[in-house]
């Protein structure tokens, strides 16, 4: 007990005490990092963090002198952990862990007394930054976290050299980081990218993007968002705009108002996940490959054109094919997710229709929308042939003055009736819903597919083109089954507003002005101002490359990289590469080391004089401890021939002058310091040769 007390006293007396700026820095870092995770941190924990930071600040600036006692903090810790268990239990393991980590950091910050506490906090903060990358991966956040890392290193440096100036500390830390960066990058590029070792808990964020049900009207809210949905990189030219139907969700359950994903499909998918059984569609016809980088949606749905299959090993491992020809990930997409797929645009027509499929796709609510029922039965009576019937239904959209609008009236009762015969104004989901309903009434299996349509094409010279698909590209269309042609895509919107399909939503809404009406300053809305658009495209391009090359770097790309370096991947070449990398790292390290060896610790003047002394020592004359430079010079005069002693006495004089003369007087003297050094070098050289000669 006594010893601990003593040590505590001692610790407070040392430079590494609570007055160190490092602790303040740590507090600031904790605040910044935890606020960057705002969305997934409980508010009261953030408050606790703020409290801890305020305590540190108060102690640093001497407003307050005492740390809260250990007992108080222990009580606080117990209470907060109870609170955390209560409020975070329902939100998944990851959420709870991150909150717990931040809570622990905050408490540690409050009670930080000894060196050990500081170290623990630093390690926890590094780990917290690592966790931050799970939630935020954009360039901005990455730069922010890099900055935080630097600040952490800086605080460590401040802790170990308390009286160095901030400027010097910054210099030290940045030199260290600059030296470490190439090595780190090299390791990142070269060390094997492993596949996940075990299943990890994922965060449960708010789901974004498409939802699993639409009541006509939903996609309109999405169309007001200019956020990125995903990007797709094509090796060759991408399909033309009219063909870019990105399927995401198929809805087959209609209750008269709302379309939903059918419960049968849900069950089937769960079964697939459990048994790890892939659904295998028939793959026929031409195909093309592309890569998709999806933004986090917290949903399992992935996006692909027509019928698609995962194209590389990693995608194959994680992505499942469902029975309605959709791709879904094993786990919800919580961070940017890159996958490679191969699409078969003509394969949709060649799939089979099972009995259950048919049942599901014909099921209808018993009552409601009576006018439509009547209309369809009339039409059906007229056109017995399925194709003719479909055409007749579609011609209803063409013949009547239908309007494509993002601001339709609300239709609460019998929405299909009111849309088809009264309002005749709506957007994609209205059209799709009405058409699918009508076809089902006519006995033709039909369903709604939601996803995205179109996308902004970016073509840079020499690079593969890519499409950016934004939330406002969200779309809904219909797939119908015909016995001789299989599944067919019918997009009623295309009939009403061909611009929407050919040129995108912005063009289609040009007259109405409702494109992104809620966010008037969104860059996408201001696309017709050229320079603003250029900035937008530039930012998008950077973001794309960041996602593709940094976030999307995987074992496949690593192998490609090795291939491009080595030509062929043979074990010998790989081992040579490994040796080369180790060698490179060694070289880099020795490069950083070199200045130390080359550094002249004593200054040139001293160095040259000492060299001369060494020369004499070799020749057998050691300068005695008590001999000053002048005395030694005299000694040499007496013992050596003038050929040796002359250069030495001159050298000594120069040495004395440079070392002991006042600065001002040397400034006015005839010879500058550099010239003196040159002279000294000359004398030294002469001295050495003469000594060698006399020896010989």
């Amino acid at each position: 007990m006594f010893i601990r007390l003593q040590q505590k006293l001692k610790n407070q007396g040392t430079p590494q005490s609570s007055k160190n700026i490092a602790l303040l820095l740590l507090a600031a870092i904790l605040v910044c990092v935890s606020f960057s995770l705002f969305a997934s941190i409980l508010i009261w924990i953030l408050l606790l963090v703020a409290c801890a930071a305020v305590i540190r600040g108060a102690i640093y600036y001497n407003y307050y002198r005492h740390l809260p006692s250990i007992r108080t903090l222990n009580l606080l810790a117990v209470l907060s952990i109870l609170g955390l268990i209560y409020s975070a239990l329902s939100d998944g393991l990851l959420f709870g862990m991150v909150n717990l980590l931040i809570l622990a950091c905050a408490l540690k910050l409050m009670q930080m007394r000894s060196q050990k506490d500081v170290y623990q906090l630093v390690i926890s903060l590094f780990f917290l930054i690592g966790c931050g990358f799970i939630f935020n991966q954009s360039i901005g956040f990455s730069l922010f976290y890099a900055l935080m890392c630097m600040a952490l290193l800086l605080s460590l440096a401040c802790y170990h050299a308390p009286s160095n100036t901030m400027h010097k500390q910054l210099k030290t830390v940045s030199i260290l980081s600059l030296q470490a960066l190439p090595i780190g990058l090299l390791m990142f590029l070269v060390l094997p990218q492993l596949s996940p070792l075990w299943h990890t808990p994922k965060s449960k964020g708010a789901q974004t993007g498409l939802s699993e049900q639409i009541t006509p009207g939903d996609i309109a809210t999405l169309s007001q968002s200019s956020e990125l949905a995903f990007r797709a990189t094509f090796e060759d030219t991408p399909p033309i705009a009219r063909r870019r139907y990105w399927r995401a969700i198929v809805m087959e359950d209609f209750d008269g108002k709302t379309w939903k994903v059918h419960a049968y499909r849900h069950k089937l998918r769960e079964f697939q996940l459990k048994t790890k059984q892939q659904f295998k569609p028939k793959l026929t016809g031409p195909f093309f490959d592309y890569e998709v980088i999806a933004e986090p949606t917290n949903q399992p749905w992935l996006f692909a054109l027509d019928i698609a299959v995962p194209a590389d090993t990693q995608s194959r491992r994680n992505i499942m094919q469902s029975s309605d020809f959709l791709l879904f990930n094993r786990q919800p997409v919580v961070s940017k997710y890159q996958y490679a797929v191969r699409s078969y645009p003509e394969a949709l027509a060649n799939q089979a229709l099972t009995v259950t499929d048919k049942q599901i796709n014909l099921r209808l609510p018993e009552t409601g929308n009576n006018r439509t029922r009547e209309w369809v039965s009339n039409l059906r009576a007229k056109f017995q042939d399925n194709n003719k019937f479909v055409e007749a239904v579609l011609s209803h959209f063409i013949d009547n003055p239908f309007v494509y609008t993002l601001r339709p009236d609300v239709m609460l009762v019998d929405p299909v009736d009111r849309f088809l015969f009264d309002n005749q104004a709506g957007f994609c989901s209205h059209y799709a819903s009405a058409l699918a309903y009508a076809l089902r009434l006519g006995g033709i299996p039909a369903r709604i597919v939601t996803g995205y349509q179109g996308g902004e094409l970016v073509e840079n010279n020499g690079k593969s083109p890519y499409l950016s698909i934004y939330q406002y590209d969200a779309h809904a269309w219909v797939e119908t089954w015909s016995d001789n042609a299989g599944w067919q895509r019918i997009d009623p919107t295309a009939l009403v507003s061909p611009d929407r399909i050919e040129f995108g939503l912005q063009q289609a809404m040009l007259e109405e002005g409702s494109f992104l009406a809620d966010s008037p300053f969104s860059l996408a809305r201001l696309a017709n101002i050229v320079w603003l658009n250029n900035i937008r495209l530039f930012l998008a391009d950077i973001d794309y490359n960041w996602s593709r090359w940094v976030l999307g770097f995987n074992s496949q790309k690593q192998r490609d990289l090795f291939k491009s370096i080595l030509g062929k991947l043979t074990p010998e070449r790989l081992s040579i590469l490994g040796v080369g990398i180790v060698f490179t790292i060694g070289m880099l390290l020795s490069l950083f080391f070199l200045p130390h060896w080359l550094q002249n610790r004593l200054g040139t003047t001293q160095h040259l004089y000492i060299k001369a002394l060494h020369a004499f020592a070799k020749a057998g004359t050691q300068r005695a401890n008590w001999q000053g430079p002048t005395a030694f010079s005299q000694h040499i005069n007496e013992h050596y021939s003038h050929k040796v002693s002359d250069p030495f006495s001159q050298l000594t004089q120069l040495y004395l002058r440079l070392t002991y003369q006042k600065k001002q007087s040397t400034g006015t003297s005839v010879l500058s310091i550099k010239q003196c050094h040159r002279l000294m070098r000359g004398h030294l050289a002469r001295l050495k040769t003469e000594l060698l000669k006399s020896k010989a």
């Binding site: 010893i3 040392t14 430079p15 170290y119 623990q120 390690i123 590094f126 780990f127 690592g130 966790c131 990358f133 799970i134 991966q137 976290y145 890392c149 290193l153 460590l156 440096a157 802790y159 170990h160 050299a161 308390p162 009286s163 160095n164 010097k168 830390v173 260290l176 980081s177 030296q179 470490a180 960066l181 090595i183 780190g184 990058l185 390791m187 990142f188 060390l191 990218q193 492993l194 596949s195 996940p196 070792l197 075990w198 990890t200 961070s335 940094v550 976030l551 999307g552 770097f553 995987n554 790292i585 390290l589 950083f592 080391f593 130390h596 550094q599 610790r601 004593l602 200054g603 001293q606």
Partner: protein, 362 residues
């Protein structure tokens, strides 16, 4: 354990021989990840696992960057530590029981222009290497106390290391352990330096009466020979030409005023007689305070030692006092005798003899 230690010491003596100046380089620097460094490594492992499991490249990048920082730090901390240049300075004379302040000059040769570029930075911890063979908790704690923390950025040369002197005689200075965690605390650089020194610990002076044994040519009676020195017994004897260095209060100012030049008064007194300080042969039986004698736990040998030390302490006091008053005296320690003399050199010789006195084994 002790065998291992003796090997270790032998190896250290060979590896880092004692010197008055140490320039640190790869011969005498030890470097190993500190506890924090190991913690840091485990953080890297954790980040790697997390990054792999989440397939998160940024986390992996962070992990590799930290790993690279760890690697680069090895050099950085070595370079910083290798800039240390330590030189032992001159000490004051020291007596048993004193706290000896040993001055160490850090990088004293580097001029101020070069200091910013090539001086050591960060905190340095100086400590005497613990004598492990008696590393009970108590001694350990005491040694912890002796650790001196120096901030190389705000340095006032020399650095004083304090060591308590427990034994008279030539000081056994244990190796000085210097360690540094700069720049980030990931590595511990340390070295055990042995310094050549000429420090002798003199016996602790014990105030007592001054007993000069005057050796007359025909000294018949022993007790009469003891001259008790008392103040005011000095008598003026004659004048002498002043010599530089003589105390000014001996100058005969009246003579100077009369224009006879600087002359100094010479005094003759009993004290001027040459006397001997003697180590009494029967110190073992006398002068022990009853409290120590009663302490039965001490055996005879230890008792003898205490008695000898007391005797030597008293002699030491007398030597210092006599030298202060510039008296001429000799020292008779039985086996070793120092001829009567005076002055600083004589004083030092006497003190050294007292410090190094070992009784011939009977």
């Amino acid at each position: 354990m002790t065998l291992l230690q003796s090997y270790w010491n032998k190896w250290l003596n060979k590896r880092i021989p004692a010197a008055s100046q140490h320039h640190l380089n790869h011969h005498n620097i030890f470097i190993f990840p500190a506890k924090f460094g190991l913690l840091f490594l485990s953080l890297c492992v954790l980040l790697f696992l997390l990054g792999t499991n989440y397939q998160n490249n940024l986390m992996l990048l962070l992990c590799y960057f930290l790993l690279a920082i760890f690697l680069v730090n090895l050099l950085a901390s070595y370079i910083n530590f290798a800039r240390i240049d330590l030189q032992i300075g001159k000490c004051h004379e020291v007596f048993v029981g004193d706290n000896l302040q040993i001055p160490l000059w850090l990088n004293a040769n580097i001029d101020n222009n070069n200091r910013a570029k090539s001086a050591t930075k960060g905190l340095l911890h100086f400590k005497f290497q613990t004598n492990q063979h008696k590393s009970t908790k108590k001694t350990k704690f005491r040694h912890d106390q002796q650790s001196t923390e120096v901030d190389a950025d705000a340095l006032t040369n020399p650095i004083y290391l304090s060591q308590k002197c427990h034994q008279r005689g030539k000081l056994t200075l244990s190796r000085v352990t210097v360690q540094s965690f700069y720049p980030l605390g990931l590595y511990r650089c340390w070295t055990h330096l042995a310094f050549i020194h000429e420090i002798t610990v003199f016996p602790k002076p014990l105030p007592c009466e001054i007993q000069l044994h005057i050796n007359d040519n025909n000294s018949a009676k022993k007790s009469g020979g003891i001259a008790n020195e008392q103040a005011g017994h000095d008598d003026f004897s004659h004048l002498k030409a002043y010599q530089v260095g003589e105390p000014l209060n001996h100058v005969a100012w009246k003579q100077l005023a009369k224009g006879r030049g600087m002359v100094s008064k010479q005094f003759s007194s009993i004290s001027n007689q040459i006397g001997w300080l003697k180590l009494s042969t029967d110190y073992k039986n006398k002068a022990l305070s009853p409290s120590i004698v009663l302490d039965t736990e001490l055996d005879n040998l230890a008792l003898d030692k205490i008695a000898l030390d007391k005797e030597l302490g008293e002699l030491c006091y007398q030597v210092i006092e006599l030298s202060r008053t510039q008296r001429t005296f000799g020292l008779d320690l039985g086996p070793q005798c120092i001829a009567p003399n005076s002055g600083a050199g004589h004083r030092l010789a006497c003190l050294l003899a007292l410090a190094n006195f070992t009784e011939a084994s009977p």
